[in-house]
């Protein structure tokens, strides 16, 4: 079975937030909340500046503090693609997972359950790309099976310089940023 991950080319990303808007409409994310967001990291002194724009979301980590801390089992890893999900009707909104996630990827939906990126499982199951990936006007996002060495994502990780976010947290995140 696949182990899905995402690769985002920061050289191409312009920080336009289309990925954020698309997630919002695709998944009906309530007003005031977002499942993905943009972080701009700026270094240097004018005019010698280096900018890296990161489209961030749940990293669908291999080691999941958000799953191990969940008292009800609502927060879990799906068999399908090893996607990290929350079963809404099992979630009691205790926020343990919200606190455990080093990426701040979770929030409590006004309806009372922990909410976050689902890697658009409902789309991926149908063979479609996640909404954010499919909308990105710069084509800087890639999605696929990290366990398949021939997938586009695996090849990009193998061939281009890249990093993940907060690797020191030890969660083995599955979103890679090409630099």
């Amino acid at each position: 079975m696949a182990r899905f991950g995402m690769v985002i080319d920061t050289k191409k990303c312009v920080g336009c937030m289309d990925c954020v808007v698309a997630c919002k409409t695709e998944n009906n994310v309530p007003e005031g909340y977002n499942r993905d967001w943009i972080v701009t990291v700026s270094n240097g002194k004018f005019p010698d500046i280096h900018l890296e724009i990161q489209s961030q979301r749940c990293n669908h980590c291999d080691n999941t503090p958000c799953v191990s801390c969940c008292p009800t089992g609502a927060s879990h890893v799906e068999e399908f693609g090893k996607i990290v999900l929350v079963t809404h009707n099992m979630c009691i909104g205790c926020k343990a997972c919200v606190a455990a996630c080093p990426y701040d990827a979770r929030f409590v939906n006004p309806e009372g359950y922990a909410d976050k990126c689902t890697f658009c499982m409902h789309r991926v199951e149908k063979g479609e790309l996640p909404a954010c990936v499919s909308v990105c006007p710069t084509h800087c996002m890639y999605f696929g099976d990290l366990d398949d060495p021939n997938s586009e994502v695996s090849k990009l990780i193998a061939s281009r310089k890249n990093h993940t976010l907060i690797p020191e947290a030890g969660t083995s995140p599955r979103i890679y940023y090409l630099t």
Partner: protein
Amino acid sequence: MNSISRRKFLKITGFSVGAVAAASALSPIVKGSEKINKEKVKGIQKIPTYCDICFWKCGAIAYLKDGALWKIEGNPNDPLSKGRLCPRGTGGIGAYSDPDRLRSPLIRTKERGEEKWKEVTWDEALDYIASKMKKIKSEYGPESVAFFSHGIGGNFLKHTLKAYGVNNISAPSYAQCRGPRDVGFELTFGDGIGSPERTDIENAKCLVLIGSHLGENMHNSQAQEFANAVERDSTVIVVDPRFSVAASKAKYYLPIKPGTDIALLLAWMNVIVNEKLYDVEYVNKFGFGFEQFAAEISPYTPEWAYTETGIDVELIRTTARVMAINKPATLIHPGRHVTWYGDDAQRSRAIALLNALLGSWGRKGGFFFPSSYSIPPYPYPEYPKPGKDKVDNPDNKYPFAIEEITTGIREATITGKPYPIKGWFIYATNLIHALPNEEETIKAIQNLDLMVVVDVIPSEIAGWADVVLPESVYLERYDDLHASSFKETFVGIRQPVVESPADQKPNWWIAKKLADKLGLGNYFPWQHIEEYLDYRLNAAGLSLDQLKKEGIIRGEKPPIYFEDGITPEFPTPSGKIEFYSLQLAQAGFDPVPKFTRPDEPPAGYFRLLFGRSPVHSFSRTQSNRILMDMMEENEVWVNNDIANRYGLANGQYIKLKNQDGIISNKVKVKVTERIRTDCVYMVHGFGHNSKMLKGAYGKGASDAQLITKYKIDPIMGGTGMNVNFVTFETEV
């Protein structure tokens, strides 16, 4: 505005039901939105249309889920969006659900600008307008009504007004935006840039952006091609006082002193001519007055330019050479919003000349020759001949103006000369934010006998109107056919996806109904816009049914470069590319652009620059709740050292005060290294003070409010607006 009862909100107008029912025979359109839809169609329906969140008009597909509007995506068959909308387009459904939308026609009950209204029926509103218009016609003549419009949605109203006799018709997109560029290029090549731009970014090997911040500025095709250029490793050169997102993708970043771009352009040309790096064959064959041009630019060395621009001498030389190496696939982008310093047509001409030296006009990776789908116009009766000249440019004061000047109409409205302007009809353009110097706009408004605003949201300009007419948003209406000039020909349709939630009407209906009231019904021989669309499409060998299903029909891919068969023609007076412009000289202007030093900011003041955000269009989208979630307010960018000197902290609210003592709304400071120390920057469109625009009211600051000063381009009448200076007020 009175509060609207739930019952009113639910009211479905007889007409709209008819429109949607007619449409549903052809494509699976359901009756209405989530709230009003009685026969919810289960499952997913897809309805093609084209976007209206900006003027780019990307082909889109709207999705309904169980009869309710769900999301909107790009139409993969559309040459502009290539299946991917920009963030504003993706957030377009928020325009439909915006709780601040205008819902019912309004007539003013108190003083202008007090925003006190009564809700009226369409008949009452249009009768009121028609009687005022008839009065203006009999007292002053029909030319005393002016029309300001933005976007394709204005077409039908323009038709009604032309039938009535209006000849003063204008859009801020000329004198407040792209006008100088089109004039500068026309003076040089005999042809302008157009929209969408004829820039072949896709194939450029070297792309030069001067102040243009693609990526933050999301004109979809341009932004997509820009990212593609970055991926292809084409050499990007960015000139900007601010380290833009585009600058972060550039191989060379030139942190120019604001207002000195012409100096840089002259120095670049100086290097290219001196080192004989230009396209000699192209220049010899197509150029006029090259010798005089070369002589004129000879003093402008990189050493000289350094003292004006602050750009390192070697950096100027290197970038000039890089441009030359990649010729003719070097594209010095002409930009879009270019009304900066009042000498903008000359700056644009300098950009045109640099492109000419490199032979990029008409060449792959430079400027292509666009074409559009040929669709014959509808055979309307002829318009009456205007009895008077237009008022915007009396005595040809701006001899090379190629479109009507909004601020010229405003001036005539204030002075009553050359003749009084007594009526303003405004479609979808917020003149308070679009024109410089709000006070003059308000002064002009006070002289009017009639002011009508047609829009979807209660913008500031609507607040000044006598009558406000609520338009259906693009997802609820048909519009005219979209057949822009581009790399290939195509025609796109906008069609209703959902019902209007209240008493809003499509612009074509408003225009037709008003024509009836004015006794001009014969100008609308069709009953419903579908007849009009079908007629035009049939005349082009197409059908409405087919277009409604496909959204976009693509035509041919004609040749677009000289190398594949376009005959090089330059419709200038000399028939050649005018390196030296006799017509400019004859009119008393510099035949080759010259540099004028910009004014320095007074001590303690900083030049105010403004630009675009990828998630908002002008001042039209700040109350769209989806886009509001992306960016709720703007920030003022202040260089780190300056912030330290003035004790400003990141995220702190301050106010800006300009040279004339005008004070802005409170605005957050963004302390950053990404801008020079002599200027500050903010995104345009925020700082709303229309009380009806509840979501956006008081959020962020308006650059427009601070733009009290403007410099008119003597060549073409554009208003240079980057000539204001601001200082910080920490008491908020």
